[in-house]
Every structure is written in C-alpha cells, then in structure tokens.
Amino acid sequence: MDLRRAPRTVIDPKVRQVGFVTPGAAPPPARSHSVATDACSTSPPAPDLSLPGSSISPVMIPPPRHASADGLSSLTRPAAAVHVPASPLRHDTVQIPIGSYNPSEILLGSSPMISPSSRLDAGSEFSDEVPTSAWLSRRGSGKFASSFPASSGEMMAMKTTGGGGGGNTPKSSLTTASVVKTLPGVSEKDGGALIEMQNEGTSKPQKQKTSKAERRAIQEAQRAAKAAAKEAGGVKPSASSGGAIPALKQGKVVKHSPQKKDGPQVTAPVTTSEKKVVDRLPEKDRKKDVPHPRMQFDDKHRVEKAKRRAVVNQSEARNRVELFRHLPQYIHGTQLPDLESKFFQLDPMHPSVCKVGLQYLSGDISGGNARCIAMLLAFKEAIGDYTTPPEKALVRDLTAKISSYVSFLIECRPLSISMGNAIRFLKNRIAKLPHTLSESEAKSSLQSDIDRFINEKIVIADKVIVRHAVTKIRDGDVLLTYGSSSVVEMIFLYAHELGKHFRVVVVDSRPNLEGQALLRRLVAKGLNCTYTHINAISYIMHEVTRVFLGASSVLSNGTVYSRVGTACVAMAAHAFQVPVLICCEAYKFHERVQLDSICSNELGDPDVISMVPGRKYLNHLDNWADNENLQLLNLTYDATPSDYVSMIITDYGMLPPTSVPVIVREYRREHLWI
C-alpha cells in the first residue's frame, strides 16, 4: 500500500479547484494528507460541529432538513453566496493541498448553480410531481380487492346453476370435474410440505455440525480430565470440570461405538446442550461486532448451506479463477432456463418479485438506478398484497418476507450497493412502524415510504445532480463519458437543451457495449458525438476537456466503485490533466472502505468475452472450458482510487472525494430515515 501511495503523491497535481473555492481566496494553512483523512474518517461528528469557527473543520454541513420536505426544500432554498468559478478547471493555478478546504467552502450542501429563474421553473416542475405522488399514496388497496370477491361470487353462482349454460348465450357454466379433497388451498399445503421438506434437509447438516462440536467438546473434556488426573486430584475440580466428567465418560462410550456421526447425538445430549450454550454466546457477541460478513464463496460449508436453501439452481463453473474464488462463479446461461421452467414452483415469491428476479437474471434490467427502482416497486407491490398470517406480527413477518425476497434476488444477481442501502431503508421503516397502526395503514405508509424514497433519492436527486453538473459544461467543451450512465445521459441532454455547444465522446468496451445504446439516444437528440472503444482512450483524451462518469457506488475513502473500465478512463484523464467528474446519487454512498476491486466484485459471464460480435470466425476460444489451464474472467466492477477523481457530483452538491465520509456520516440517518 505504501509502495503504491508514494509515487502517486508525487504525480498528484496540487491543482484541485472543485467548485468550493472562491478564486481570489488565499489558500488555507496547509495540512498533510494523512491528517486530513484521519480527521474525516475517524473523528466523531460532535467535535466537528462544536468547532464551527475553526478553519480546520473540513466541511460544514447545513442543518439537516426535514425528511419529508427534503426534495422540495433542496431546490427552493435561497441561493447561496458561493461564486461559481468560471475558470476552466483544467488550467488552474490555485494550489490547494489535498484534503483541506477554504473556509468559504462551507456551503457544500447548498451550492446551487442555477439562476433564480431556472430554479423557479424547476420548482413548478416538481410541484406537479408531488401531487401525483400524494395521489398515489392516497389510492388504497381497496380497488384491488373489490373486484375479486364479486367475480368469485358470480363464479359460485354459475356453478350452482349446473350444466345448462350452453345454448345461444356464449356464457357457459363450469362443472367441476375433479376436486382435490384437501379443500382449502391445496397449493398452500403443498408449499408447506415443501418447506418442511427443506427444513428437514437443512436440519441434517446441523446434526452433523453438532456432532462435530460434540466431538470437540469431548476432546476438550478428555484433555481437561487428563490434566486433572496429572494434578492427582490435589485441586478440587471446579464447577466446569465437574460438568466435563460425565462428558468424558460418555465420550469414551462414543469412542468405542463404530458410527461416528449419529452416535454422540444419542448418547450425550446433556453435555452438548451445555457446551453449545457456552460456545454460542461469544459467537453471537462477535457477530454483533462484525458488520454482517459477506458470503465468501471459498468457504465450502457456507456455500453448501446456501446451495441447499437456493431457489435458483446454479452449477459452479469448472474453470474457476483462483484469485476470485471468494466470489460466486457459476456457469452462466443455465440459470435463466432453469428458473423459467420452475416459474410456477416459486410459490412463496410474490409474482412481481419473481418478475424482477427474472429480469435481473436475463439482463433486461441493468444499471444501479433501474435495478433499485425495479426492486423497490416490486417490494411495494408485494407489500400491497401482503396479509399478516394469524398469530404473527406484521413487523417481524414482513421483515422475514422481504429478507426471503432479497435472498432470491441475490441468487438472480448479486445486489448492488445502492440496492443494499434501499433494502436497509425499507427494513428500517418496517422496524420503526408504530404499533398502533392497523395493517392496512402500515402497508400504505410503507408503500408511500417507498414512493418517497424513489422520488427523493433517485428521481429528484438525479435532477439536482443534472442541474449541478450542467454548470460545469461550457461552450466548446469536449465531454467524455464511459459506458452508459443514466445520470450522465440526462446531464448531456439537459445541457443540450440549454443550448450549450459541446461535443460528446462516448467510450465503450466489450462485451456489453452499453455505450452504443447511449450513443444512439444522444445522436437521436441531435448531439454531436464521437464513439470509440476504451483501447483508444489515450488517443482521444487529448481533445477532451472534461470526463463525466457514473458510479455504482462511492465508498467512504473516496473510492469510486463503478463499471469495469472506469478506473482506466479516470487514470488516463488524470494523466492528461483532464478533470474527472463522478455523478452519483447520495443514496449510493457506502461507509465501506475498499482499496481494490478484488475483495468485492461481481463476475459476469466469461463466455461473452470470447465472442466477438460480427466476427463469427473468431472462434479460437470455443470450448475453452475444456482446457484446464485457461480461465476467463469477466469482472463487472472496478474501483477507482480517489486520487483520480476531481469531483463527485451528488444531490448534496459537488464535493471532492475526500468529503464522502462526511456525507456518509452526516446524511446517513437522513438517507435511511432512521
């Protein structure tokens, strides 16, 4: 790490003017990099706020706004006195040490770059949106329910009239030919049986495990007994060793018995239960400390366990890349047909969740925002159709339901960080539901929460980002983007609508070639575009004045986690002294710190790498899986170090990557409405 850091600081240009700096202002007292990051990442929030006057506090946060009024207030807040630097970012001469800011950067959250008139029309734009959402929340589930009983009643009536329907009226009656005897809800019963079966399945390995623990317990007991024997009974056996003695006896019995696995269960139930309690407690404590470990796929036991629970049948790839064993490596292309053929067996899933899962799996929905919205809308529908089973609490049962949906979605495609945040938000809302609410009230409140989240955190956030980012586009600019980011597309389109004259360079990469779709849309809107692949990045970077990139997530050390290739583009831009602007909604921020793209990533289908579109004769890698010495790796994401990022444009304004922890820390509660 040090090795990597050292040269970078040398390369690092000290030029960093990112919208917080008034051009004429004197540079603040310089501070070393490390101190600044320390202050950002480790200091609790309190001291920062207690020292409002000191110039050391890196960023001052505007007072947290009320959640409900968030979207509107962020737009209608009076214009701050921050002057937007008109000088090009590129050839800047003001030198500011990284990690410290001018006192005048205070208004980080509220740096509105729009002229008052444009803001006015923005306000009106939103105002017609707000009522719709309000109307949405008002619309109850009554509409839904009312149509069903009526028709079913009709059906019943038809049934009772018997088989005289035919004749000239096209309406016919149904005669029940065969009825399953187990009357109410056959499918439910079947489902129940299935679940029981599964439970049986999962309980078996647990038995194994306990037997293992038992064996260990027995061993320990034996050791303790031996030690006690060595001491020749001089010391009185303590309470714990006293407990171990019967275990020792039973353990010996077990040792003689030939069957290893099932024997101890029968013979030594008491000791195991004791031992378990002792063992479990510290484990639980440990679990509380560790923030929910991610599944490591090189852990065979857990993988086995997860497989048994899995809905989607996944077969592991044969030639797995050794370095990425901790990530799921499945044979792609088998899951979708398998899941499709099992479509009607996925009974515990809500249909809309199922649909979204299928869309993830088939790639119909991709992109962080689209995936998140699709998931939230599916959850919303599922909540709408949810009824609390008798003798269960809505809060607990619904949380469990949502968890099961989420694990299904994970099987279809690993969650993105933004989705994780959204799920956290939803679970939080469920947990925080007041107990006084009736079921329907609780449901509608959750549904409106979801709507609000989508609207505020994604839709309006995007609009705010667009308005911020447009200020960075000037006539004559050449803007480069990589892949296809929905926000960046909106920025370009908006800037074009404003009548700015600029050119866009769309950089793309195999195998997904998402850029082509973006290019097509931009060209259709009349933008002047250049399209190239990422291998030409250093060639094209000469003419570029700004780089706009989307992100899947921004981590708290400023690392930008995004589509693979982003890091390469950012580095090239950095080398050419071109500012890199990352556009990312704040709900995608995460407090995790990640230094590389190995420990956490997603692996795509390796086969698509070997196929070249339009060049069918390039089949040298056909049947590559048969060659054991060859492994193909198709990474989905990469991590761009914060050094290569000039600025992150988020719904709270434009900030340097070093301020990400502040946003994460200060706005987290507001984000999740905790």
Binding site: T176, A177, F344, Q359, E381
Partner: protein, 458 residues
C-alpha cells in the same frame, strides 16, 4: 399461483380427424400410447404445479365424457372445472364463453391436443419478464411422416400448414410478424413501422406455433369483446395483436392506465418517464428505437409487446391436429420422446403388459406397445406399432407403423401398415390395409384390400 389462470382448450369432435373421433371419443380422449391425449397436457401442467384448471370442451356430450374421464383419473390431484361451449365457436369463442371466469392477471391458454415437455413456466416467465400482452410458444416441429414411405402431395400440404411464418427481432424474444394457416401460402407483407422500430427482422419458417399462449387477461377480454368476429386465437387474435403492437388500439381506451393503477404501479405519467429514463424494460433495440422516434409519451403508451418463447430443439412438442400428426405422435411417444409416455420400457425398448399373451414365434419389435389383456396368435410380427387393450389378434398378422385401439379383433393373415384402427373394429381374414383409417366399430370383410382410405360406419 403466480397470478396465472390456466385454460385448456380441449376441442370437441374435430372434423379433421374424421374417422378417428366420434361421438363416443371426442378429440381430447383420443388415445396416444393408450392414454387420452388430454392427459399429456394435464400432466404437463400438474408437473408445473398448476392444479387449478379450466377445461373448455365443445359440445355438451363431449364435455360430459371429458368431465367424466377427468373426474375418474384426476381425483385428488387436480382441481378441474369443465365448461361446455357450443360447437364451432372456435377457440376465440370458447374463450369468450369462459372469459367471465378469468380473474388473474394473466391467462395461460393451452391447447388440449398438445403433446410436449416444454415447461409452461418458461412461457409464463418470458411473458412476465417482458410485461408482454401475449407470449406464444414456438417450437421446432417434429419430423412428420414415416421417412420410408414416399410422402404424397397430401402430406406435403399437411406439413406446410403446421409451420408458421414468424418474424422475430434480433434477440429472438419479440414476435413481430406471424402468418398462420392459409396466409402462409401468400406473399409476406411486413409492416414498415415495425421493421423501422426493430431495425432487423428475422423471418423464419421452421417454427410452429404450439398453441400455448400467455395472455394478459384484460387485453384478451378486451379483444374478445371488441372483435366479436374473431373466431380463432391462432388465426385472428394473435395476428391482430402482433399487427397492432405499435399502434395499439386496446390501450387507446385508457385501459393501460387503469391497469397500471390496479397493479399498484406509479401513475402512468411517472411510469413512462421512468421507463424512458431508466429503461426499465429495454432489452433490445426495440425499446430504444421506440424512445427514439419522435413520439409523445401518449404515443409511447400505445404500444404493446408480443413475445415468443422458442423451445429448444431437444424438447418435444407436437399437436395432434391431423391424422398424420396422430400417427406421428403415437410413434414418437413410444419412440424418441418416450419419457412423455410415463411407461417404463423393457430391455427390448418396448412395453408389453404382463397380462398380454403372445403366441409362438410372434415378435414384438422395439418401440412397440402392447396393452393389457391383448392376445396374439402365432407367427405374428409387430413393428413400431401400438396395440390397445383387450385386442384379439390371430396368427400370421403383420402390423407395421400402426395404431390399434382397444377391443379390436384382427383375424388370421392380415397385414396392417401405416394405419389407424379404432376401437371395436373387426378385421376379417386376409385383410390388407395400407395407410387407412378405420372408424370405430367398422367391420372389414375378409380378403379386402384398401390403400389410403378412411373407412367408417355409415
């Protein structure tokens, strides 16, 4: 059940299968490997956990018979409701009759004469995934007719009409053009706007519409209500929906809006902007180009998607809609698609019920089936044929490529080749039948020879 309802269209006494079906044996109960053909569909659905079915039968009598059989065979297994509709209302009419029973979001419509192992879930999942208005199952038609006999002109015709001309987008998921039945012979007319929207249209003639559809319920009901002249799903409703997918008339009535709201979706206006912004359902160039074309959001609403699920070649899929298909399916079910029959085959690759009696020097070849209680005399030879229950077959009888149903008597020295012999038929001595269909209860006098003739009791 995933918000799907299943309607099985079991047909009535189809005239196409003239000597085979009769008042006593409606089409749905025609035996395929000694099981009614309807059982294949019902078991396919049952294996997909679809246990609430509506079976629509043409004709009161036929409905009674089918209902009787179902209640006997599927007690405790399926919840089946049988509806009788008047004859000749067509598939669309049959659906019209049961339309008021449909309440789920989507309806899966399966033809009762389908013999297949394509999971219906796959069609349903494709339908859901795309949010389509209609999704149809397309499959590679199985090889038709025995290869050794030269196919006559009549067979050629049969062959052709089984295929459809199908237009697909490059991802092979969207159905852009479909020509059915008689239209196949005409010139293909492709709509310009569809072609412009997709950019690339793949036209294929090797796929068959397997008559398994997933429909959005509201749309189906709407079309059936509005277009009361529509007679058949395959020839009217489906082509209509495919034709109008870019200028949807069904959604023009504000139907989509109502739906979206009922679904708990966001209000339609928001929904459109989200769709365009986040490309929620945009797998192919299709959607993009739709977004491209200078349409107002209102226009964008007036499109619907028609999708296709193409079954892989390894799956078996056939419809029993002609006599040729009947013998083909019978052959395949004990032959290459033997997993469908549900029987276990002997080491000689045939099924001989233990109660069947074989005379000396009688051989039953592979891919044959001899059901319970049948007796065969000496020196008989059975090749690639199915013989039903309680048949009495004399000596020196040769049966090749044929289907013999139940309670048939065949006397000594007969030769039956490529024929279908229905129940209770009596073949007297030395009858020679080639490519014939003998209706139920017919008596063929001794020594007569027939070739390519349907024979039935007057």
């Amino acid at each position: 059940m995933m918000d799907f309802q299943v309607v099985v269209l079991a047909g009535g006494t189809a005239k196409k299968l003239a000597p085979l079906v009769s008042k006593e044996v409606p089409k749905a109960l025609l035996p395929v490997a000694n099981r009614p053909v309807l059982s294949y569909v019902l078991e396919l659905l049952e294996s997909s956990n679809l246990k609430d079915l509506i079976v629509v039968v043409e004709g009161e009598d036929a409905a009674l018979r089918v209902g009787g059989w179902i209640s006997g065979a599927y007690v405790d297994r399926l919840h089946v409701e049988v509806a009788a509709v008047p004859e000749d209302v067509g598939t669309a009419g049959a659906l019209r009759a049961v339309a008021h029973h449909l309440t789920a979001n989507d309806v899966l419509i399966v033809s009762g004469d389908l013999v297949s192992d394509v999971p219906p879930g796959a069609v349903a999942a494709t339908h859901r995934r795309h949010g389509a208005v209609v999704t149809t199952l397309l499959c590679y038609a199985p090889v038709s007719g025995p290869s050794d006999t030269g196919s006559s002109a009549g067979k050629d015709k049969v062959k052709k009409s089984r295929y459809n001309i199908v237009g697909l987008d490059p991802t092979r998921q969207l159905l852009l053009h479909i020509a059915a039945g008689a239209e196949v012979e005409k010139d293909i007319r492709v709509q310009k706007n569809i072609l412009r929207a997709v950019g690339q249209l793949e036209i294929r003639a090797d796929l068959m519409d397997a008559h398994m559809y997933a429909f959005k319920r509201t749309v189906l009901q709407d079309v059936l209500d509005q277009k009361d002249t529509f007679h058949s799903i395959r020839q009217d409703v489906l082509p209509y929906l495919v034709r109008t997918q870019l200028r949807s008339e069904i959604s023009a009535n504000g139907l989509h809006k109502v739906e979206d709201n009922a679904n708990g979706r966001v209000s339609s206006q928001n929904y459109v902007t989200w769709m365009s912004q986040h490309r929620e359902i945009a797998p192919s160039a299709y959607q993009e180009l739709l977004a491209l074309s200078p349409r107002s959001p209102e226009n964008a609403l007036r499109t619907h998607k028609c999708c296709a699920y193409i079954a892989s070649k390894s799956k078996y899929c056939a419809r029993l809609n002609s006599i040729q298909a009947f013998s083909d399916i019978n052959r395949d079910v004990v032959g290459e698609a033997s997993h469908l029959s549900g029987y276990s085959f002997s080491s000689q690759n045939n099924i001989i019920h233990p109660s069947a009696e074989l005379g000396s020097k009688t051989t039953v070849g592979p891919q044959c089936m001899l059901a319970e209680g049948s007796q065969m005399g000496d020196k008989c030879s059975v090749k690639r044929s199915i013989i039903g229950r309680h048949c009495r077959i004399g000596s020196n009888v040769k049966i090749v490529n044929s289907v013999v149903m139940n309670h048939v008597t065949i006397e000594d020295g007969c030769l039956v080749q490529g024929s279908v012999i229905c129940s209770n038929v009596h073949l007297q001595e030395r009858v020679v039948l080639k490519d014939c269909q003998i209706g139920a209860g017919y008596v063929v006098t001794s020594g007569s020879e027939y070739k390519s003739e349907p024979l039935a009791r007057k």
